[in-house]
């Protein structure tokens, strides 16, 4: 986990200090590396925190932060063996409560995931949420998220993607290949053999990230474009941990073959397009609209995107891109005449 450690803000650092002390009390003589592993920090971040704790304390009766008013550690063990032994404790006995917003964030995250097969026991989720509420220093803020995992047992309507998700989940767990029909945005269907690596989601959209044996590369498959999926007995050949397999954090990765188009968009709609705007793209404000660059892999995607934002986003250049959008919308409108 250490490679995911990020620089911390002052509030994060305080939360960390208040969390680290009780853990150290329960793990007398823990190694710096163990603490780093457990908290998802770098060993250096742990050492700095321990050094700060060791010289902190309360003003005490003399208001002078005298020796007994400060935390203390076994400095020899720390400096020579990277071991953390607290020899004097001050003020803190236990772990802190969650804040109202922290509890709300976790509760809303649990709601979003409530239909995961792993969460089949709804009672367990409810009890977990109530523990978070009781463990917060104030009532969790009112943030709610609709459960978005495709579920076969939804009260309103079962989700048609539930069987596909269950199948993918099983193949990920068993480490076996999948065979599936994948239809692209132009309606063309191809049989693919895939090493499933990860199930991803953005809001209500679900994706499979996997190694595609046809394309010989990691590909992203929308669950709603997958059909006729079956699990094979063939073990997967590529793993998320392989050096030639990279699972990027973003779903839409720029490629050198991308087409660049210039668009004008109303400022409030910019967030809807962030995925398509390359890093470092210049944006110019002009007449209350923002002119910027989009990257798309082909005009099939572009015309759909732009036609779904009428009056909000307009393609300015190149002419071929404008023509593709115009033709798409004109054919659509023609169906009504």
């Amino acid at each position: 986990m250490a490679d995911r450690a990020q620089p911390l803000q002052a509030r994060d650092k305080l939360a960390f200090l208040l969390s680290l002390v009780p853990w150290l009390m329960d793990h007398d003589g823990a190694k710096v590396s163990e603490a780093a592993e457990h908290f998802g920090m770098t060993p250096q971040q742990i050492r700095e925190a321990v050094e700060l704790i060791a010289v902190s304390g309360v003003p005490g009766e003399t208001d002078a932060y005298q020796h007994g008013d400060l935390f203390d550690i076994n400095w020899d063990a720390f400096e020579e063996r990277d071991e953390i032994v607290i020899t004097n404790l001050v003020a803190i006995d236990d772990s802190p409560r969650f804040s109202a917003r922290e509890a709300a964030a976790l509760i809303a995250g649990l709601q979003y995931l409530s239909a995961l097969p792993e969460n089949a026991d709804r009672g367990a989720i409810a009890s977990l949420m109530s523990k978070l509420s009781r463990g917060a220093s104030a009532a969790p803020s009112q943030v709610g998220v609709e459960g978005a995992v495709p579920s076969p047992i939804d009260a309103v309507a079962p989700d048609p993607l539930a069987p596909t998700l269950a199948l993918i989940r099983e193949s990920v767990e068993r480490g076996v290949q999948l065979e599936l029909d994948y239809q692209n945005s132009q309606g063309q269907r191809e049989r693919r053999r895939v090493d499933p690596l990860r199930i991803e989601s953005i809001d209500t959209d679900w994706y499979l990230r996997g190694w595609c044996h046809l394309r010989e590369a990691v590909r992203t498959f929308r669950l709603d474009r997958i059909s006729n999926a079956i699990i094979t007995e063939q073990p997967i050949e590529h793993r998320a941990t392989d050096s030639d397999v990279r699972l990027p954090d973003v779903l839409f990765e720029p490629s050198p073959d991308d087409l660049e188009v210039t668009i004008e968009v109303v400022p409030s709609a910019m967030p809807l397009l962030t995925d398509y705007i390359p890093d470092g793209a210049t944006t110019v404000e002009h007449d209350g609209r923002i002119r910027t660059t989009l990257r798309v892999s082909h005009y099939h995607g572009l015309k759909r995107l732009i036609a779904s934002m009428p009056g909000v986003a307009t393609v300015v250049a190149p002419p071929s891109a404008r023509a593709a959008v115009e033709e798409w919308a004109r054919e659509g409108a023609a169906r009504y005449r």
């Binding site: 006995d93 802190p96 609709e146």
Partner: protein
């Protein structure tokens, strides 16, 4: 009261923010009867270095005010006690952190299974303020020493938080404040200013909504005559959200109520469309929860689907994106809305 130690400003600048905040929490946890502001500023590490006995400490006092907010934001219950017989006097007001309200109740623990789930729940928030909140929540969870059953490799879930209005609304909800914002209703030319009591922020079908109670002009907001409850789409809030005065208490599980309300609207909203077989529209719309196939797929080039929706304008945007792959059959308003959009796109690109 002892005199200040190391009072030069260069010494003070060497005390990092987290050390000052940590020292403040320790000092306030350690006191039963509380400390006055003057005691804090003159004795606590990070303040005492800057404190001028008998001098002007206005900057330091402002710093203390900000630090109090930061600490409370972390869920640390910093409370104030009025001196008996001297209520309302800032100089004798005492600050402390009561241990019982600070510490996680001892009967709360999390199993390795639950820890796995909470790790996954935290992963959902990777942008906006909620990502920081879940990061800090996980630190506190780790404090309890439980490790997850297995690293969660199989899933990478994510909920978007891209509406500019989310942060100010969420802050107003937290602080129970009335808010004003310009709201652009579809079909209207200009945004109209709304004044509401925020009740909940909910994400439904990928879009963030604010559930709120309208402030009735002239009416007493604490009276029983409550304003209408309305749901606002965050993406239609087209200008800054301005926090105002304190909102009256409105107890209840508003998030659950708002989600249930949206579910009802979704169930009532029914549209019929014809889609080209084997098109992206047929695949995507056909695989949507609640969609019904009205005609069997039997060699025909078109198939008819019945869809549910919450907001006609949003569905119209989405259907327009499918261009000639979709023909709206009903309702007529949706048909009209889609044609208008397509024609607009043609004009804008002609």
């Amino acid at each position: 009261m002892s005199s200040t130690l190391g009072s030069t400003s260069s010494a003070a600048s060497r005390v990092p923010v987290e050390e000052r905040l940590f020292s403040l929490v320790l000092a306030l946890l350690a006191t039963e009867s509380g400390l006055t502001k003057n005691e804090i500023l003159s004795t606590v590490q990070g303040y005492r270095q800057k404190f001028r006995a008998g001098g002007d400490n206005a900057n330091l006092e402002r710093q203390f005010e900000r630090d109090k907010d930061d600490i409370r934001d972390l869920g640390v219950p910093l409370e104030t006690i009025d001196s008996p017989g001297d209520a309302g006097n800032n100089q004798t007001l005492r600050y402390r952190i009561p241990r019982g309200a600070y510490e996680l109740p001892s009967d709360i623990s999390f199993s390795p299974d639950e820890t796995t789930l909470l790790n996954l729940a935290a992963m959902v928030w990777r942008e906006g303020s909620l990502s920081g909140e879940s990061r800090r929540a996980l630190l506190k969870l780790r404090s309890l020493g439980v490790t997850a059953d297995e690293p969660v490799l199989g899933y990478a879930p994510r909920v978007r938080l891209r509406d500019a209005a989310f942060e100010p609304l969420s802050a107003a909800l937290e602080k129970h404040l009335i808010v004003r914002f310009p709201y652009l209703k579809p079909g209207e030319d200009h945004a109209r200013e709304r004044e509401v009591i925020p009740l909940a922020l909910v994400q439904y079908q990928g879009r963030w909504h604010l559930s709120a109670e309208e402030v009735v002009p002239g009416a007493r907001t604490d009276s029983a005559g409550e304003g209408a409850r309305k749901t606002y789409l965050l993406r239609r809030i087209v200008g800054p959200v301005e926090p105002g005065k304190s909102a009256p208490a409105r107890p209840g599980d508003h998030a659950a109520a708002a989600l249930a309300g949206l579910d009802e609207v979704w169930e009532r909203g029914v549209a019929e469309v014809e889609v080209a077989c084997d098109s992206d529209a047929a695949t995507r719309l056909g695989n949507r929860r609640g969609t019904e196939r009205l005609t069997p797929e039997s060699g025909e080039s078109q198939t008819r689907l019945q869809l549910h929706y919450v907001d006609l304008e949003i569905l119209a945007d989405e259907l327009a994106g499918f261009g000639p792959e979709v023909l709206v059959v009903s309702p007529p308003e949706l048909r009209e809305a889609v044609v208008t959009r397509l024609e607009r796109t043609v004009r804008d690109h002609g």
